[in-house]
């Protein structure tokens, strides 16, 4: 491709709409442009990177024995009624009526459609196993789209669905997909981690997420520094003993103290001169079943919403509204505690505070806390569970070693769905004994467009993008310093053509512009290797080979350039 013809509008300034670096760089590098909130157009450079990821995904899905299909993006309400998700799925499911006033939605995922397809075609165990995938545009009406492709409304996803006779066969499919995913993200050149994950609203009973490691990631992931254990902190089990060191303490007398204007737990600790871990935070919550819950965790811990939902068996859990807090505690928000509540509520405390003695809680009264609170004597009917986030102070739940917590961007997700959808929708098969049984399903997603952006979030420097070689839109850029110099231009042209003939995806910067502008653009768009044809050619017959990642420059005599080109063929 000749740069002079390429639709590649780079930007010097950082667009105000972008918050994170990958989003800024994709805009500046002319990869994407915003159409409306959460809706992006892919320009040629962005689409080329997207296609490289797609190609790797497709090849590995085929290698794993999956077959490609393409399902409609517009889906009828009836199928979603069958699965129960027409009601249950939130507003991310964009629902609308067609011209005949029939209800449809834009597919955010395709469990219903694929289950419907398979139930019509699969009759017998002989038709199984089956693994069908598609690479397709999905739509989720996010309440607050942001970060470009990271949390867009329209996005490109690879979704696969497996169909098996039993759990054992599903298990084989699941790990087969797991391995395919590892190959995919390795081939994309990404630093990633597969972690145990929550199965969330989609249902199912085993799940792993594939996380691209990046400081700005929305997810926190815990992993063992010794064994292979790794999990999203949403899910990571805490196996710390409940030993607080307090067990020997006698119960002191409960005492109310004034804490004027002191709400934050750190401030309470400071004000009362009590260590953080002896202050118990009480959060007033409401479930979709209208239950009011007071959840208690230590001052140095964080409540884990996913764990709480599981303990409560509810689908939705939110912080209670101000009016509810005032009704239940008799005080404004910020002073809730488990002692002296005005209504019967569900009390749940984290395991780690079970052995605490003489701890501090909110007094259910403005500007007041209670000291020396103790279980049984002061608080009854509490159940203890693992309801907090794991911390680096906790041991690995598998081997007890030290863990570390990092941030990541979720780019893939594998689920064991079991028979959730097949039972709801009557997708059955006849087993070897002629008995009708529900098909056992799995589902496997990759955010293709998100992977492109996550790669940039992980791989950039102050000059711009540093594309991992396998997903770079071009393998090589050939820059002619001065295109008006016929000799330089002709040499550049020759290198460009030689590269193309070797199957190297090459961009030829033939623009009549200052070299500085051309170098800056090349660095911004992150092409792994640049060959610069400049005055050295006339001096000693050599060209510069610049490596974007290391920023090292080699001087290569023209006659040895073929070896360099031969080493560049990533794209095939």
């Amino acid at each position: 491709m000749r740069y002079s013809k390429l639709f590649l509008p780079t930007l010097k300034e950082v667009p105000s709409e972008a918050e994170i670096i990958s989003h800024k760089l994709m805009l500046r590098a002319g990869m994407i442009r915003r159409l409306a909130s959460g809706l992006y157009s892919y320009l040629p450079l962005g689409l080329k990177a997207l296609r490289k990821v797609e190609t790797i995904v497709r090849e590995e899905m085929f290698r794993a024995g999956a077959q490609e299909v393409l399902l409609p993006m517009v889906q009828p309400r009836e199928l979603w009624e069958e699965s129960g998700r027409w009601q249950k799925y939130g507003k991310e499911l964009l629902r609308f009526k067609d011209r005949h006033e029939h209800d449809f939605c834009l597919g955010p995922t395709h469990e219903e459609v694929i289950t419907d397809l398979v139930r019509r075609e699969v009759r017998s165990y002989r038709d199984l196993p089956l693994n069908l995938f598609q690479i397709q545009t999905k739509f989720r009406d996010e309440i607050r789209p942001r970060f470009g492709l990271m949390r867009g409304r329209e996005f490109v996803m690879k979704d696969a669905y497996s169909f098996d006779v039993d759990e054992e066969a599903l298990d084989r499919q699941y790990w087969n997909m797991f391995e395919a995913y590892c190959r995919i993200f390795e081939r994309c050149g990404l630093d990633f981690k597969a972690v145990k994950a929550d199965t969330g609203a989609i249902g199912g009973h085993e799940s792993h997420e594939f996380m691209v490691i990046a400081d700005t990631g929305e997810d926190e992931i815990a992993s063992c520094t010794v064994c292979k254990w790794a999990a999203n902190i949403e899910l990571a089990e805490v196996k710390s003993g409940s030993d607080s060191g307090d067990e020997g303490e006698a119960f002191d007398e409960i005492k109310k103290v004034n804490t004027p204007g002191v709400k934050q737990v750190e401030d309470v600790s400071e004000f009362l001169k009590v260590p953080l871990h002896k202050i118990v935070k009480s959060l007033v919550l409401e479930t979709d079943k209208k239950d009011v819950v007071v959840a208690m965790v230590r001052g140095d811990h964080e409540l884990n919403e996913v764990k709480m939902k599981k303990v409560l068996g509810c689908d939705e859990l939110t912080l209670a509204k101000e009016a509810t807090v005032e009704r239940v505690t008799g005080a404004p928000i910020g002073f809730a505690g488990p002692v002296g509540l005005r209504e019967k509520v569900i009390l749940i405390a984290d395991n780690s505070i079970k052995s605490l003695r003489n701890f501090v809680v909110g007094a259910n009264e403005k500007d007041a806390h209670l000291l020396n609170v103790n279980w049984d004597r002061d608080i009854k009917d509490v159940s203890f569970s693992d309801i907090r986030n794991i911390t680096e102070a906790d041991p690995c739940p598998e081997c007890g070693s030290t863990i570390e917590i990092r941030r990541g961007i979720e780019v893939g997700h594998v689920f064991k769905l079991g028979t959730k959808y097949s039972e709801a929708m009557g997708a059955t098969f006849l087993d070897k004994d002629g008995k009708e049984r529900p098909i056992v399903m799995g589902c496997y997603g990759i955010g293709v467009s998100r992977t492109v952006q996550a790669a940039i979030e992980q791989n950039h420097d102050e000059l711009g993008i540093v594309f991992p070689e396998p997903i770079a839109p071009f393998d090589l850029i050939v820059t002619v310093v001065n295109v008006k110099d016929e000799e330089l231009r002709a040499s550049g042209e020759n290198i460009y053509k030689a590269a193309l003939s070797k199957g190297i995806d090459c961009l030829f910067d033939d623009r009549d512009m200052r070299p500085g502008v051309k170098f800056k653009d090349a660095e911004l768009i992150g092409i792994p290797v640049r060959i610069t044809v400049g005055k050295r050619l006339k001096e000693d017959g050599s060209v510069e080979v610049f490596h974007r990642k290391t920023r090292q420059v080699e001087l290569i005599p023209m006659e040895k350039l073929e070896d360099v080109l031969n080493s560049l063929k990533y794209s095939s």
Copy 2:
């Protein structure tokens, strides 16, 4: 691919939902399945054919200098307001609200989005020309989706948009695209014709359609048997002289005759013993501007709606409702005529009836017609225009030779848009003199999914699909007659692997089924060549090479099979 693993559910019975042969065959061959009205899932075989067409389209678009982008399918109302199409586009434009109650639509086409993208990036004549395309799923909420992919609601389309400094540059782009389209449909192996076409609602001032010739096509196309002229009959100009042979006749006395129950023009001709061409059909029509129009054509001609709209300068034209007909004519539908109407209406007659004398018209009275009607004496204020379809009796408007009329399926369309969208949306550039001018645009569409089905509509026989080689989902099927015979199975396996190693897209029928079933499936799905490994292998060491199109069988000794395989590599 091994057939035993392939998700390829063929059907013996013809599904009741299908009307035309290609739709039936695509369902029977397990290429597609219906999800809801106008919404289809592509199964692996269907998707493979679709991808082959996509690949040809993409290669030729690149060769023509176009660049690939990917635009959102969900589009904001604001852009469509700018172009004026939010109001003007009919119910095919599916409009809906997102969770924040903002108006959006599902993209049926992308003029607005691409014009918006380009107006933000293009500043100067130096940024032009530009030609951007995408291959993407579109949605049009057809009132009556039918014929499978032929008139679906969701479909895969290649749409391209060009941007130029002036009409001359647009003209070069236009013919460049025209030639690319010819190469695309040639490479797909299709019998097609490029014809002049109406520009319709999309606007613009020059247009050609690419038609796949097929008896069941929805369009009629006229073409000269001598010169290169070809046009959609919607548009084909009639240049017949108005000479009817009646010019010498004297005006006879007008006479009302009883024609009880005789409505159809053929019946009137028969009943009154008057030749068809001396009966004038009068159609009562209504425009979107609420005008009532009586259009007159000869009994052996057909009214052309597109021409009528142009004559009237209206966007919509429909047959008048019963109440309107009764109000205007004083009679029920079927007896309208230009003489004695009860209201002033617009009278338009086709050029061919200008010289008629003593013709027959409806009497505006139940069961009655008028004989010996004549212009001026009986009918005043008529304007004459070309408002009928061309017939094979008319001469070529270019060279006067004989024309022929065939049916076709529209698979491609090229338009000169001019400045319609760029002016409406302010997409301008600075020319060499620093003057701001609107960008001159073209647009170019190919119905990718429709092309697959049109290919089948054109290429099939009583046994099933006969795929043109370049777009067949597989190049070759290797059928082992009896897979339980180890020698046959091993030989089949060897041929399969040899074919794959040569880059031949090969399907290996390794199913443990009766040979008859396997042959029938192979014929149904239309793979161009079948190699059958059967008992001949044991007798004389040969295999059968069966050509699907000609149904010829060659016996080839195993040692010469390599030559056959070498000749089969269509797919690269």
